[in-house]
Symmetry: C2
């Protein structure tokens, strides 16, 4: 029994390492030639295996891309969480930091890297649920931020999950910036700044001063 489990964990670890190898090979190919221009045969050859063998580790080509995207996205999520719970900052500022980070990341990613853009559109097109999964993950972070702010007595939001949804709806334009408008990053940042001011303070906002950020830079 010990030997059996030992063998099992070894093969599991092996499997994982092979998966990893495949992902690394695909990452190189995708970022170099693009998703469409790399073939499964090439990825397999890079891993010194047959094309068919890839399918023991991934259901299909698109799943390799998804794996790569998810790896990257989860790093991004962590950086968002860090911003959301940054100590010594008001909830307002943290919310702002969160949304600005989101805007800047997607902007730069899609702007300077046509390969990343290609992968994003393919995944979005072929797996519509993926975008929803990402949104849900970010809502969790909003809720964590709200919980924390509430604990500290900063603000009291009745339905945090709903409020998070509404903030997402209102900032859609800044989440997939170049699908929408061909605005430059500075212009987008100015707009996001204005929208946030409205969202936080409302139309007849009381505290209309403390909102000068680095957006004007």
């Amino acid at each position: 029994m010990e030997i059996r489990t030992g063998l099992l964990t070894i093969t599991m670890a092996e499997k994982d390492s092979v998966r990893c190898q495949i992902v690394e090979a695909a990452k190189k190919r995708f970022s170099h030639f693009g998703y469409g221009k790399t073939t499964m045969a090439e990825v397999a050859a890079d891993c010194s295996m047959s094309p068919g063998n890839l399918y023991r580790f991934f259901p299909g080509k698109l799943d390799i891309a998804e794996c790569i995207a998810t790896e990257d996205y989860e790093r991004h999520l962590e950086s968002l969480r860090k911003l959301a719970l940054a100590p010594g900052k008001s909830a307002r500022d943290r919310l702002r930091d969160l949304l600005f980070e989101e805007l800047r990341r997607t902007y730069h990613k899609l702007e300077k890297d046509p390969r990343a853009y290609e992968m994003a559109t393919v995944i979005a097109h072929e797996r519509p649920q993926y975008a929803n999964w990402m949104l849900a993950n970010e809502r969790k972070i909003f809720v964590e931020l709200f919980d924390d702010a509430e604990k500290k007595g900063e603000i009291a939001i009745p339905d945090k999950e709903i409020t998070a949804e509404m903030i997402q709806a209102a900032t859609m334009k800044f989440r997939y910036p170049q699908l929408w408008s061909k605005l430059t990053l500075p212009k987008l940042e100015r707009e996001l700044d204005g929208v946030l001011k409205l969202l936080i303070d409302g139309l007849c906002g009381t505290s209309r001063e403390g909102a000068r950020t680095e957006a004007a830079a």
Copy 2:
């Protein structure tokens, strides 16, 4: 001189009536068979003229479509203006009515009428500035509403044009509903309701009661 101007206005009026005839013929064809499936030759035949003659009245096929769209859009603008300045309603309610009307109109237009959807996408693709022109028109209405509200002492908004831009940015998702999400109209209405609540009252909104609209219906 009198005769000259007389002749001129007559030919102008004639030209306009021919333009009108062309637009009517195209409208029938476009709504029946779609923009892509109707040919200039057919429109010309419907007007008992040669294809070439169409180009004395319109620079191209797309301009006929644009003319039709604009005609329709200007009716819509008028109905928006009516809502914006409706007497006996608070600025808040009028703003809400405006945005809900906008959502419902585009939703129904694009939902039930694939021809309208086709024309919208073709124009949006071929004439990117057109969407901007529409947005600018609607901002004017927002500003009129704000001016009116200010006169009545309801609210005081410092930079009305900017605020209008921000409201548009925050409600993008509801302006081209089906390009974004495949949400149903009731869900969209609930979301718009929530976003408006945030926009008007802010995150820690004070007056969280008077916001029950027909959105729940």
